[in-house]
């Protein structure tokens, strides 16, 4: 490569015959990309970013019946952190989550493994039957469970009558357990279906290899099925945490069915936000609460995800 050779090369780019300018083509591809993202982007902005921004904006104001809204800065947040009723609700959903989620997921796991064992009859029917509660609206299921667990004239009244016991599922000390049963009933089938679909995707060869190696059913579960389920387990845990943190329907409806169930207007953070906004006309404070709960939920879900993924990588 000599200097003269270099000199003969044209100093300016001449159009290559038959080829459009490179940068133009690249820009057009980029624009087409945006067009593809636009439907999602617009909807996302409309139903996610705008409402959250609006809530954040609202949370900086205090609504007063006399004098209307006034800017208060972060006062709603400082008030929230000192609000015993808020923490009461948070503690309740956290302890609820700690107990209900493991129980439900273990149950779903056992059911999914049982389905997958191919040793049961009427599996298709069972799968639908276990999933069906998920399709029942929470309001309907709460009413139904309210009647079943009702002590005076409900099913539990009869059970107490036969056994001579005096169990009341809707005492302040037992209401949360009853709600746990309702939620577990509704969501076990849903989680089971997730596990079931993952197990179906396990390659048949693995089982054949295991059979050749002489592995028993439990060995297969431990060595093949459970590791396969790990990823979906993380997902279901996250879904469940998000779900239980947002419990609302059950405590909202139960008080009108049973007396003295111990459900307060701040029983769960969501219920508290609802009551603050609508019976207390404290929209700003409710918005602050909702945002803090959202941040809290995202943080926990994120922690679970990171933890779950790291363990999966360790494997």
């Amino acid at each position: 490569m000599s200097a003269t050779e270099r000199m003969t090369r044209p100093a300016v780019a001449v159009p290559v015959p038959g080829g459009a300018p490179q940068h133009y083509r690249r820009r057009r591809t980029r624009q087409i990309g945006w067009a593809f993202v636009a439907p999602f982007g617009i909807l996302f902005a409309l139903v996610f970013i705008v409402p959250i921004t609006y809530a954040a904006y609202l949370s900086l104001f205090q609504d007063r019946m006399v004098g209307g809204p006034s800017f208060v800065g972060l006062a709603n947040y400082t008030k929230l952190f000192g609000d015993a009723q808020f923490w009461d609700g948070v503690t309740r959903v956290v302890s609820f989550t700690l107990i209900q989620v493991p129980v439900m997921l273990v149950l779903a796991l056992v059911l999914a493994l049982a389905m997958d064992s191919m040793r049961l009859r009427g599996m298709r029917f069972m799968r639908v039957a276990i999933f069906l509660p998920y399709a029942v609206p929470a309001i309907v299921s709460t009413l139904m469970w309210g009647f079943m667990l009702g002590v005076r004239y409900g099913l539990f009244g009869s059970i107490n009558g036969w056994l001579g016991t005096d169990i009341d599922p809707f005492r302040p000390s037992t209401t949360l357990i009853s709600i746990g049963i309702m939620v577990t009933w509704a969501f076990t089938g849903y989680n089971m279906l997730i596990f079931d679909s993952v197990l179906k995707a396990v390659p048949q060869e693995l089982y054949e290899a295991a059979a050749i190696d002489g592995a028993g059913e439990f060995r297969v579960i431990r060595a093949i099925k459970l590791p396969a389920l790990r990823g979906s387990l993380v997902i279901t845990v996250i879904f469940s945490i998000i779900g239980t943190f947002q419990i609302f329907n059950e405590p909202q409806i139960l008080p009108s069915m049973v007396a003295n169930s111990g459900i307060t207007t701040y029983y769960t953070p969501n219920l508290y936000a609802f009551n603050l906004a609508f019976t207390g006309s404290q929209q700003g404070y409710a918005a602050a609460l909702a945002l803090v709960m959202a941040a809290f939920t995202i943080a926990i879900a994120y922690a679970v995800q990171i933890r779950g993924m790291r363990d999966a990588l360790d494997q």
Binding site: Y54, Y57, Q62, R64, M65, V66, G67, G68, F147, G150, V151, R152, Y153, R171, P172, P255, S256, M257, V258, A259, N260, G262, T264, T265, Y266, N275, F278, T279, G280, S281, Q283
Partner: protein, 439 residues
């Protein structure tokens, strides 16, 4: 966002103003304030959970050709208030007429969300209602709603159950009531003279009748005090009833359990609003012929003092589009010709013209063993004591009351007096936060 709403509101105002000028240009002056006329039809939206309002619509539309009325059930009580608050805040979908329980009137009227009906003609109607009902819808000099149904506190008592306990007449005083309660309790496990699971409105009616006035409201100044001797007398009496297990604290009103216990006669009486007369037959069909209506027991021998328990009214939101037409319909079904079909369908109204009429007083009610219940209800309405006030933030306060009272009713620990004290404290806090001067 707020700016946007404002711009939008201005836009709407301009368009409306344009339409109005166009109207007056063509000589349609009647329509200018939303009065309605044949060529400029007005459509009124009414939010009501009172089914009888619908019955007044055909007659009204016939008499007022320019106005069309649509009655919508936007939920009961709290649900509806929330919907209204939402609509007002959003600045769209605000109905022309809205049903309010009496206690909710100040909640909307004080912040200026309700129109003063005085200038529209309501001021002249004062003497046509029993005094206590009128007292419920006026704040200062303003009239913010018209009474549509009334809840004079009366006692529904099951004659058969009382007879079983060896009692042959309704208790005339609270002392007699206490003695009767013991006799009924002695009948067995499930027999109680009544039930109570933190029923705030009953407790307040007891205080009301005893002469206590725990809330004093003057503009934005609110005074809350449960320590007056009259108030304490009522509270102490009910405390004694609960302490001695004379009140069933497991069944809450309006529940399925409640219906069943009224039906089988194990709940011997209810001190409630007169409105229960119309729904008790559905709730307790098997007890037909057993129940009677009596005045609420009295605090002193030979006295005749009443109180209220519930009742509702209709008001016009300040943001409503057709106030004049709305008032026309309001007057029609709460005061004018629309009243009759509603009363025939079972509405219990505080209009003197109805209460004093022979048709109302002489009708025998077969469910109540052919008793002329109208006479008792009319008397209870006339003796309902005046001067009771609800604080503007009562809607919030009553939901909080449940939180505070439930532990007492479930565990029996503490006392009603302590519950009320905590309630007072929280209400004072909340009221001040909301910009009122509360002490």
């Amino acid at each position: 966002m707020r700016l946007l709403t404002k711009a939008w509101a201005v836009g709407v105002a301009l368009v409306t103003a344009g339409a109005l000028t166009a109207c007056s240009g063509t000589g349609g002056t009647a329509a200018s304030a939303g009065g309605g006329s044949a060529d400029q039809p007005v459509k009124l939206t009414v939010w009501s959970w009172d089914g009888t309002v619908e019955l007044a619509v055909p007659g009204f539309e016939k008499a007022n050709p320019g106005i069309e009325v649509e009655v919508v059930n936007a939920g009961s009580s709290t649900d509806e208030y929330q919907a209204l608050d939402n609509a007002i805040q959003a600045g769209s979908g605000v109905p022309d007429l809205v049903m309010f329980e009496y206690f909710a009137v100040p909640y909307f009227a004080v912040p200026g969300k309700l129109a003063d009906l005085g200038p529209l003609g309501a001021a002249e109607l004062a003497d046509d209602y029993v005094p206590s009902a009128w007292n419920n819808v006026t704040i200062g000099d303003g009239v913010y709603a018209l009474p549509s149904d009334f809840g004079p506190a009366v006692m529904f008592w099951n004659e058969a159950t009382f007879a079983k306990a060896g009692i042959d007449e309704a208790p005339a005083t609270w002392d007699e009531y206490y003695e009767d309660a013991k006799k009924i309790r002695a009948l067995g496990d499930d027999y109680y003279i009544t039930q109570d699971t933190n029923d705030l409105f009953f407790l307040l009616s007891l205080i009301w009748q005893a002469g206590g006035r725990p809330f004093e409201v003057d503009g934005t100044t609110v005074h809350i005090d449960f320590s007056a001797p009259e108030t304490q007398k009522a509270v102490a009496f009910w405390q004694k009833m609960i302490d001695e297990d004379l009140v069933n604290t497991k069944i809450s009103a309006w529940s399925d359990d409640w219906n069943r216990a009224l039906n089988d006669g194990t709940l011997a009486s209810q001190n409630m609003g007169g409105w229960l007369t119309s729904t008790l037959p559905e709730r307790a069909p098997d007890a037909a012929g057993d129940f009677r209506v009596a005045l609420m027991p009295q605090w002193g021998e030979g006295e005749k003092v009443g109180a209220e328990n519930g009742g509702s009214s209709f008001g016009i939101p300040e943001a409503a589009a057709n106030k004049e037409a709305a008032y026309k319909f309001l007057e029609y079904f709460t005061h004018g010709d629309g009243l009759q079909p509603r009363v025939e369908a079972g509405a219990f109204v505080p209009n003197k013209s109805v209460l004093d009429s022979p048709e109302f007083q002489d009708v025998k009610n077969p469910y109540f063993g052919d008793q002329k219940t109208g006479q008792v209800l009319a008397e209870a309405s006339n003796i309902a004591a005046v001067g009771w006030q609800y604080p503007p933030f009562f809607e919030w306060a009553r939901s909080t009351y449940g939180d505070i009272a439930t532990p007492f009713y479930t565990s029996g620990k503490g006392s009603l007096a302590e519950v009320l004290q905590t309630w007072e404290q929280r209400s004072v806090e909340y009221g001040n936060e909301q910009g009122f001067q509360v002490d």
